[in-house]
C-alpha cells in the first residue's frame, strides 16, 4: 500500500525534477526547521498553557500530528477503501 521510495529524480530533465533540486529543497527544509527551533533560544514566546512552554512544542506537535494523520489514513484504507466502481455494481 505504500508507494515505492520516491521515484529516482531525473538527472537532465526539467530543473524542478532534478535530484539536486529535490535534495536541496529537502535539506533546505531541514535547515529552516533547525533555525526555527533555534530562534527560541533568543526569543521567548508567550504561552497560555503550560505544555506550550516545552522547547519547540509547536514544531514537535506539527511533526507528530502530520505523521500520525498519514499513518491513521493508511490504516483507515484497510477498512473503507473499495474499488472505484463500488457503487456502480
Amino acid at each position: 500500500m505504500s508507494q515505492p521510495p520516491a521515484p529516482p529524480p531525473e538527472r537532465n530533465g526539467h530543473w524542478i525534477f532534478r535530484r539536486r533540486t529535490v535534495d536541496g529543497a529537502f535539506w533546505g527544509l531541514v535547515l529552516l526547521c533547525g533555525l526555527l527551533g533555534l530562534v527560541e533560544v533568543v526569543y521567548h514566546r508567550h504561552s497560555i498553557f503550560a505544555f506550550e512552554a516545552f522547547p519547540v512544542a509547536y514544531g514537535l506537535f506539527g511533526f507528530v500530528c502530520f505523521a500520525g494523520i498519514v499513518f491513521a489514513g493508511k490504516a483507515l484504507r484497510t477498512v473503507i477503501m473499495r474499488d472505484e466502481d463500488y457503487y456502480d455494481r
Partner: protein, 563 residues
C-alpha cells in the same frame, strides 16, 4: 441605488435575461450584475427595509447590519470571480443557475425574518443542483438527486422549526435564538445540515466533486457559508458548537489523506474549514465570532482559488485523479503558482489570508480555556497543511512527471485565479480593512512574534514530516479507489435493506399465495367429489324414490305437527 431592493434580487432577476443576450454583451452583462449588486449594497445604510405585514407577521426583505454586510460583500466578490472564471464557456443553464444561486444566497443573508430566509434557503438548493446536473453524466444526475433531497430536506426542517417557533413566541424575526426547545433545535439541525455537521456532512463530498469545472467553484462559495452566517446570527455562544466544530475540523483530514479525487480532497478540506468557523461561533466571544466571520470571508476566496486551480487541471487534462496526475508544473506554471498561493492561504502561512483569520479563532479558544478544543484545532491545522497545503499542489503539479503535456489554463481562468490570489496575499499582508468590517470590536494583532513563530514551527515541521515520509516511501501512494463514508448508508445499506425486504416480501407473498391455492384446489376437489358428474349430489333419482321421500317427509311433518 434603489430603495428597499436586496442586492441579491439584482442577480436573481438579472439572471433571467442572460440566455437572451449574444456573446460579448452577455459576458459584460453578467459581470455587471455583481458590480450593480455591490453598488446597491454600498448605498444602503444599516437598518431594516422592505417590511410587509402578512397574517400578522412582519416580513423583512432587507436587513442591513455589519454581519449581513460582511457576508453579502464576500458573496458578491465570489459571484464576480465566478463569472470571470466561467467566461470561456457558453452554458446558459449553468450561467443562469450560478447567478440565481448567488443571488439567493445574498438575499438569504439580508433576510430579516425566517420566512424570507426559508424562501431563499430553498432557492439556493434548487438553483444550485443545476450546477451538478450540468455535468450531464449518470453519476452527476444521481449525486444531484441525493444533494437535492438533503438540501430541500434541510429547508423543510427549517420551516417546521420556524412554524413551531412562531407559534410559541409569535415572532418570525431572525435574530439570536439559542437552543431553547424543539423549535430552535430543528432550526439548528437545518443549519447543521447545510454547514455539514458530522454525520450530516456527506452530501458535500458526494455532490460537489460531481459538478462541472465551473460549477464546483460556484458551489464551494455559497451554501455552506450561508449556513455559517445563519449560525453566527442565531446561535453564537452555543457551547455544543465548539465540540461539533472541532470534530468537523478533525475527522475529514483522515479521509482527505487517502482520497484520490483532488476535488473531493478539497471538499473534505472545506468540511474541515467549516469546523473552525463553527467552533468559533460556539466559543461566542467577540474575538471568536470575528474569527469565524473573517475566516468565512477569506475562506471563500482561497477555497474558490483552490477549486479554480483544480478545475483548470480538469478542464485541460480531463481528469482530476491524483493517481493519474503529476508534473503539471511544466505545462501549467501559472496555475501552479496560483494553486500554491491558495494552499499557503488555507494552511495559514503568515502573510497569507488564512493566518489573519484563523489566529483569531485559535486565540479565542485558548483564552476561553478550552484546552482540548484548542489542541484539536491545532492538530487540524496540521491536517489542513497535509491535504490542502501539500497534497493538492504536490500531486497535481509535482510528484513524478506523469508525461501529461497540456496548455496553460484559459486566460479568463488565469485572471480569476490571479485576482483571488492577489486578494489572498493582500488580506494576509494588510488585514486592517477586513478587521474594520467585522461586527464586533476587538483588540487583536495577528503579527506578534509568538503567533508567527509558533505557526511557522507548526507548518514547517509538518512539511518536514511529509518530506521524510515521501523520501522513505512511507507516504501512501495515490490509488484509484472509492472510500466509504456516511453516504454508504443511503447509497448501499438502505437500498440493500430495501432489496432484502422486497425479496422477503415477495417470498412471503408467494408462500401465502401457494398455500391459498392449495386450499382452494382442495375445496374445489371436494365440491367436485360431491357435485361433479360422479358425485352424490349429481346422481339422478328415480321418480318413485323421490315420491317415497316426499311422502316420508310429509308424514314426519304431520307427526311433529300433532305432537
Amino acid at each position: 441605488m434603489i430603495a428597499n431592493l436586496s442586492p441579491g434580487l439584482i442577480l436573481i432577476v438579472g439572471a433571467l435575461l442572460v440566455p437572451l443576450l449574444p456573446g460579448r454583451a452577455r459576458q459584460v452583462y453578467m459581470l455587471a450584475l455583481p458590480v450593480l449588486g455591490g453598488w446597491q449594497l454600498a448605498g444602503l445604510e444599516h437598518g431594516a427595509y422592505g417590511q410587509t405585514e402578512i397574517f400578522g407577521y412582519t416580513l423583512t426583505l432587507l436587513r442591513v447590519d455589519s454581519l449581513s454586510v460582511v457576508f453579502g460583500s464576500i458573496f458578491l466578490i465570489a459571484a464576480f470571480l465566478n463569472v470571470i472564471y466561467a467566461m470561456h464557456e457558453r452554458a446558459p443553464m449553468q450561467e443562469v443557475a450560478a447567478l440565481v444561486y448567488a443571488g439567493a444566497a445574498i438575499s438569504a443573508v439580508f433576510a430579516g425574518d425566517m420566512i424570507t430566509l426559508f424562501v431563499f434557503w430553498e432557492l439556493t438548493a434548487i438553483s444550485s443542483v443545476f450546477l451538478i446536473w450540468a455535468s450531464r453524466t449518470e453519476a452527476a444526475y444521481r449525486a444531484g438527486m441525493r444533494y437535492l433531497v438533503i438540501q430541500v430536506g434541510s429547508g423543510v426542517i427549517l420551516l417546521a422549526g420556524v412554524i413551531l417557533h412562531a407559534h410559541a413566541t409569535g415572532s418570525i424575526a431572525f435574530d439570536y435564538l439559542g437552543v431553547t426547545g424543539l423549535a430552535t433545535t430543528l432550526i439548528l439541525i437545518a443549519f447543521g445540515i447545510k454547514s455539514a455537521f458530522p454525520f450530516l456532512h456527506n452530501w458535500l463530498q458526494d455532490a460537489y466533486p460531481e459538478a462541472t469545472v465551473t460549477g464546483t467553484v460556484v458551489l464551494s462559495a455559497f451554501t455552506t457559508k450561508l449556513a455559517i452566517y445563519a449560525l453566527a446570527r442565531a446561535f453564537p455562544g452555543t457551547e455544543m458548537l465548539i465540540y461539533i466544530g472541532v470534530i468537523m475540523t478533525a475527522f475529514p483530514v483522515f479521509f482527505a489523506v487517502i482520497e484520490n479525487d483532488l476535488r473531493r480532497v478539497l471538499a473534505f478540506s472545506l468540511n474541515n474549514q467549516l469546523g473552525f468557523m463553527v467552533a468559533g461561533i460556539g466559543v461566542g466571544t467577540p474575538l471568536a465570532l470575528n474569527g469565524a466571520i473573517s475566516h468565512a470571508f477569506v475562506h471563500i476566496i482561497y477555497k474558490s482559488l483552490l477549486f479554480m486551480s483544480m478545475g483548470a487541471v480538469l478542464h485541460r487534462v480531463g481528469t482530476i485523479k491524483a493517481s493519474e496526475l503529476g508534473g503539471l508544473v511544466r505545462s501549467m506554471p501559472l496555475t501552479t503558482v496560483f494553486c500554491i498561493i491558495g494552499a499557503a492561504s488555507i494552511s495559514a502561512f503568515p502573510l497569507f489570508s488564512g493566518f489573519i483569520a484563523k489566529s483569531l479563532t485559535l486565540s479565542a479558544t485558548a483564552e476561553g480555556g478550552y484546552v482540548i478544543a484548542w489542541l484539536v484545532l491545532v492538530f487540524a491545522s496540521a491536517g489542513v497543511l497535509e491535504h490542502s497545503g501539500i497534497k493538492i499542489p504536490y500531486f497535481a503539479f509535482f510528484a513524478h512527471d506523469s508525461g501529461i503535456r497540456c496548455k496553460e489554463a484559459p486566460l479568463n481562468m488565469l485572471i480569476a485565479m490571479g485576482i483571488a490570489a492577489f486578494l489572498c496575499i493582500a488580506i494576509g499582508v494588510y488585514p486592517d480593512p477586513l478587521y474594520a468590517m467585522l461586527p464586533y470590536t476587538m483588540e487583536f494583532e495577528p503579527y506578534t512574534g509568538t503567533h508567527v513563530l509558533t505557526q511557522l514551527q507548526l507548518l514547517f515541521f509538518a512539511m518536514l514530516a511529509f518530506a521524510v515520509l515521501v523520501r522513505t516511501g512511507l507516504y501512501p501512494a495515490e490509488l484509484p479507489s472509492v472510500n466509504l463514508n456516511t453516504d454508504w448508508i443511503y447509497r448501499r445499506a438502505l437500498p440493500r435493506l430495501y432489496g432484502w425486504l422486497l425479496q422477503m416480501g415477495s417470498r412471503l407473498r408467494a408462500g401465502t399465495l401457494a398455500r391459498l391455492q392449495r386450499r382452494l384446489e382442495r375445496f374445489i376437489s371436494q365440491v367436485y367429489r360431491h357435485h361433479g358428474p360422479e358425485g352424490v349430489m349429481a346422481r339422478t333419482w328415480t321418480t318413485g324414490g323421490t315420491v317415497l321421500w316426499v311422502a316420508l317427509l310429509l308424514g314426519g311433518y304431520l307427526i311433529v305437527f300433532y305432537l
